[in-house]
């Protein structure tokens, strides 16, 4: 696990030397390449998991009601 995390961080750092110009970002502007593809769907998925798993919160979303069932 540590190697995977280290690998991802190293890839980010080393790749920072590579600059992709604005006119080369056609593929990156595709909706499927956005960090959040569909905010409404993402919210519904988060609710599905947060209400049924103990591991909700701690991410960039508002952490809900905060009860043990992670409403």
């Amino acid at each position: 696990m540590k190697r995977v995390v280290f690998g991802v961080i190293a890839a980010c750092l080393f790749s920072a030397c590579v600059t992709v110009s604005a006119y080369e970002r056609g593929y990156l502007s595709d909706p499927t390449m956005q960090p959040v593809v569909d905010p409404l769907e993402a919210r519904a998925e988060r609710q599905l998991h947060r209400a049924r798993e103990a591991a909700g919160g701690g991410d960039a979303s508002v952490a809900g009601g905060g009860c043990g069932c992670t409403n």
Partner: protein, 397 residues
């Protein structure tokens, strides 16, 4: 905390809005353009059983429920620098836990919720965006307000982005009486709050590759239980005089600190017109929960106007340290933390799903309208499964 951050966010929002109005007076005359409206309807049907529920002949009660979840998203631009977004989800939940220990409210039988989630983004320079989030959540048994601020900075000709955000949530439980009435004389309100701080970074690795990583922690304090959950009570076999009840309410520590790290890799493959997305999340908290979540999604364009998506998600967690199937009386302190909630137990969870997405504008026109239809199946190894159906529509103006 949440109150002060709410006031701060409101003040900053007002200041930013006024500044935007002054420096862009000409634009604000034309002002306010409506840019996007989106709607999604999601239906969940769940089946399973858990020790926290009394709805069954044995110690494991039913967890059968249905959820109808319509939601809307509206986005408008005030001027070149200021953009507003409103997210409005509504949840209608039946049988959250039938016949449970809360015979007092109808929250366990039918629960309706409404959230108003506002977000304002202010572009402060070519590379910087400040954001403000604020809203409220209404539910039969509690009221909640939340607010947050965020800041995002772009680097290296927008090839990298760094962001930080902080959110606060404050809940007030509406106490309930023996017949479901709200605010009866003699009842006290319970409260809980949460503070959430996050940092994230995204980086373009190539013309087809994007990575993003984030870390966040959430500190929660106050009454964290779910009022309608219960814990089975066993009678000590040597006793001839058993306690008169066979279930007690769950009890939680009054503080919880959660940590999560998340990584995303998105790779577009031009040759096949597909996109692969891989994400991993590690979670840890001071209830001794450790969780790993891995998700893979493949988007495949069938035509330039339609794509299919297949996804798989696996989640593994261990139980909170005070999880139990039952407690034994006497001998167990009723002041000690306890829960039998199956959501907080040890399990594996899997989810597979598919989605069809279509642009519905006539050929040759800009793609401003789309429809999607999705289905997924979520199941856990401790007897819970959910079928999820969703339908979405979005239009850009």
């Amino acid at each position: 905390m949440a109150r002060s951050s709410g006031g701060l966010a409101a003040g900053l929002l007002l200041a930013a809005t006024c500044a935007g109005a002054r420096t862009h007076a000409d634009e604000s005359r034309n002002a306010w353009t409506f840019e996007q409206a989106a709607a999604r309807f999601t239906y969940y049907t769940q089946d399973g059983s858990g020790f926290q529920s009394q709805a069954g002949p044995g110690p494991r009660g039913a967890e059968t429920l249905d959820v109808w979840n319509p939601a809307g998203l509206f986005r408008a631009r005030q001027n070149e620098r200021v953009e507003h977004e409103l997210l409005v989800p509504i949840d209608i939940i039946t049988s959250a836990s039938i016949n449970s220990v809360d015979v007092t409210t109808s929250a366990s039988r039918m629960n309706e919720t409404l959230t108003l989630d506002f977000k304002t983004r202010v572009t402060t320079s070519e590379d910087d965006v400040a954001s403000f989030r604020y809203g409220l959540h209404l539910e039969e048994w509690y009221r909640s307000i939340f607010a947050g601020v965020g800041y995002q900075h772009e680097l290296a000709q927008d090839n990298a982005t760094l962001g930080v955000s902080a959110n606060g949530v404050f809940d007030v439980f509406r106490p309930y009486g023996p017949y479901g009435g709200l605010w009866p004389l003699g009842n006290k309100a319970d409260v809980r709050g949460a503070l959430n701080i996050n940092a994230d970074a995204s980086q373009i690795l190539s013309r087809t590759t994007l990575v993003k990583a984030s870390y966040g922690f959430t500190l929660q304090a106050g009454e964290l239980i779910t009022p309608w959950n219960s814990v089975p009570v066993d009678c000590e076999p040597r006793l001839t005089n058993c306690p008169p009840r066979d279930r007690v309410e769950e009890k939680f520590p009054r503080k919880r600190l959660r940590h999560a790290i998340h990584g995303l890799l998105a790779q577009h493959v031009p040759a096949t017109a597909s996109t692969l997305r891989l994400s991993y999340r590690f979670y840890a908290d001071d209830f001794d929960v450790r969780a790993h979540t891995l998700q893979a999604q493949i988007y495949q364009y069938a035509t330039p106007r339609a794509y299919l998506r297949a996804s798989y998600r696996v989640h593994r967690q261990n139980a909170v340290y005070f999880w139990t199937r039952s407690i034994t009386l006497p001998g167990f302190s009723l002041n000690a933390p306890r829960t039998a909630d199956s959501d907080l137990a040890e399990f594996w969870a899997h989810q597979v799903g598919g989605k069809v997405f279509i642009y519905i504008d006539p050929p040759g026109q800009f793609q401003t309208q789309n429809l999607d239809l999705g289905y997924s199946h979520y199941w856990r190894t401790n007897d819970l499964q959910v079928h999820v159906f969703s339908f979405g529509y979005s239009r850009l103006f």
